[in-house]
Amino acid sequence: MPGAVRFMQGNEACVEGALYAGLEFFAGYPITPSSEIAEQLSYRLPRQGGRFIQMEDEIASMCAIIGASLTGRKVLTATSGPGFSLMQEALGFAVMAEIPCVIVNVQRGGPSTGLPTHMSQGDVNQARWGTHGDHAIIALTASNHQDVFAITVEAFNMAETFRTPVVLLFDEVVGHMRERIILPQPGELALVERLRTSVPGGVDYHPYLPREDGRLPMSDFGGVHRYNVTGLYHDMWGFPSENPKVVHGLIRHLVDKIESNVDNIARYKAYYIDDARTVLVSYGASARSALHVVESARRKGQKFGLLELQTLWPFPHDIVGEAVGRAKRVIVVEMNMGHILHEVRKALTNPSNVFLVNRLDGVFITPTDIRQALRLIEGKGI
């Protein structure tokens, strides 16, 4: 039986995906253009026994979801640029203490208060490096509502699999646009549930001792295992340690558990890539305009292709290099000054073939904008 056909905002599709994934706890603070996520969840969560709280700021929101996650719940917060800045400290705590949680950033124009109701993709590097210190992070995105739903489910799955915060980097256009979506039926998409320890009560439990497969089974606060959780470097009991071997082992573990799984975490869509001479690389709402350009070029017999990225971090350099390495020209379409551009250049042996097509004025980049830039790149004038 097909799922229900609905017409909704991208922010609502994110809510639907989160509830499908088993979301039980949300804490947030109002901010444009993400507020609809909090509004919808304040209504939906208590109807199914979940919990919603509006905190005093985004700092507290991020802290509250970490606390709730430790009690065994799937948790979410949603914000936009300035709020995402405030969350960075606690996001780093979730990295260090290995707390599964999902953070939505519906990007708007920055820096500072910027353009609250307009489109930007300027937080891509902030998602990667916003919190201090060496670390790894997972950041995902999507360009349409069906994919917003699916990638939100993936975000929860990856948060549980890798015991890590996962950032969903949507943008104002996807968040606020309304379009058709077919809601998947229960069971249609795979869900990853919390991996809990099988160690019985009374036996020494090591919350930070990875299994052979790298996963760390958890124990809910309130359960039979009492252990310590800290943002300090810590040993396998979670107790603070400055032992150089412990410190080195932990930082390597935190980075390697994600970076060594880059191929498993990579999500992308390839359109007409195989014989493409000109490949556009894009993500989020910008990928919609890029796809339009590619499809109209194909109708004219021009060998255009699109690589739409859904996993931005860890950046899948090998996959991108493989997919676009044979193209004569690679055009990165993004609404910032070139966050992914540099990653694409790193992925290729000839980075001089890689060009940026962007817009920085808060106005959504159109197929015409991309075509005009292509004429310049091809030396055909305006």
Binding site: E24, F25, A27, Y43, P46, R47, Q48, G49, R51, I53, M55, E56, D57, I59, A60, S61, C63, A64, I65, I66, G67, A68, S69, L70, T71, R73, V75, E89, A90, F93, F221, G222, G223, V224, R226, Y227, N228, V229, T230, G231, L232, F239, P240
Partner: protein, 272 residues
């Protein structure tokens, strides 16, 4: 009575300086918990950053050592998620009321059932003796070499004004009173605050020529008085101890239970 079962003795010796009051708070806290007969599995202890925050690591409960000032925000997530847990939040004065001041007043306003212990040594000890919002005017600190001009908070008045439904103050000299007040605070169904004056001979005492731990404890004995005492009338500069506020009012998680019922009855009436 064995209070040793509440300690993670393998993580001792603790990091506190000789003469620090925080060990006395640790002792009073576990004696209060022992007297209540609470199971270790139902207690979650959440702390921030600072000398005070290390108390969680030494205790055999579910313990969460978080970020500077944010303990109450983490604790709010735990409590609302699992209201059956007993949540205790030990904090320092700078932790609770400078960087964490916003979370403090909002936790009080919500009247969410948890116990905030403000271990007030009037100084940032871990970072080396800088003044805190509880140091008070005229005191000396490593960032107030000419004397501090920042007025201090009255923690009890602040907590009461913000909506806390149980507010008390005691000191590390008055240990029996401390145990009793912590006990009452844990039993209280709402946001409870116990301010515990705790000596820091290493920085606050040394910088302000207050002597060692013994002299500082004597200062607590001589410069504090029970709430409403005649001594206070004779000498208004004395610091009052006791229960400043104790009132029944709607507790946040209980109120959320009502929201759950309301939402779920709407659910059964209107099928989407």
């Amino acid at each position: 009575m064995s209070i040793h079962k509440y300690l993670r003795e393998r993580f001792f010796p603790h990091i506190w300086c000789a003469g620090c009051g925080h060990g006395t708070v640790l002792n009073g806290l576990i004696r209060a918990i022992e007297s209540l007969g609470l199971s270790r599995n139902e207690i979650v202890m959440v702390s921030g950053i600072g000398c005070s925050s290390r108390i969680t690591g030494y205790l055999d409960f579910h313990t969460l050592h978080t970020l500077h000032g944010r303990a109450l925000a983490f604790a709010t997530g735990i409590k609302l998620s699992k209201p059956e847990l007993n949540v205790i939040v030990p904090m320092g004065d700078g932790d609770a009321l400078a960087i964490g001041g916003n979370h403090f007043i909002h936790a009080a306003r919500r009247n969410i059932a948890m116990t905030a212990l403000v271990m007030n040594n009037r100084i940032y000890g871990m970072t080396g003796g800088q003044f805190s919002p509880l140091s008070g005017c005229g005191m000396t600190a490593t960032t107030a070499p000419y004397a501090n001009i920042d007025p201090d908070f009255d923690v009890a008045a602040l907590a009461t004004a913000a909506g806390a439904s149980f507010v008390a103050r005691t000191t590390t000299f008055h240990v029996k009173e401390m145990i009793d007040l912590i006990r009452q605070a844990i039993l209280h169904d709402g946001f409870s605050v116990v301010e515990i004056l705790s000596q820091c001979p290493t920085y606050f005492g040394r910088k302000n020529k207050m002597g060692g731990a013994v002299e500082m404890l004597n200062w607590y004995k001589e410069r504090t008085t029970p709430l409403g005492s005649k001594a206070k009338q004779n000498d208004p500069s004395l610091i009052e101890r006791g229960i400043f506020m104790q009132v029944d009012k709607p507790e946040y998680c209980s109120q959320y239970e009502k929201i759950l019922q309301k939402a779920q009855s709407a659910n059964s009436q209107t099928k989407e």
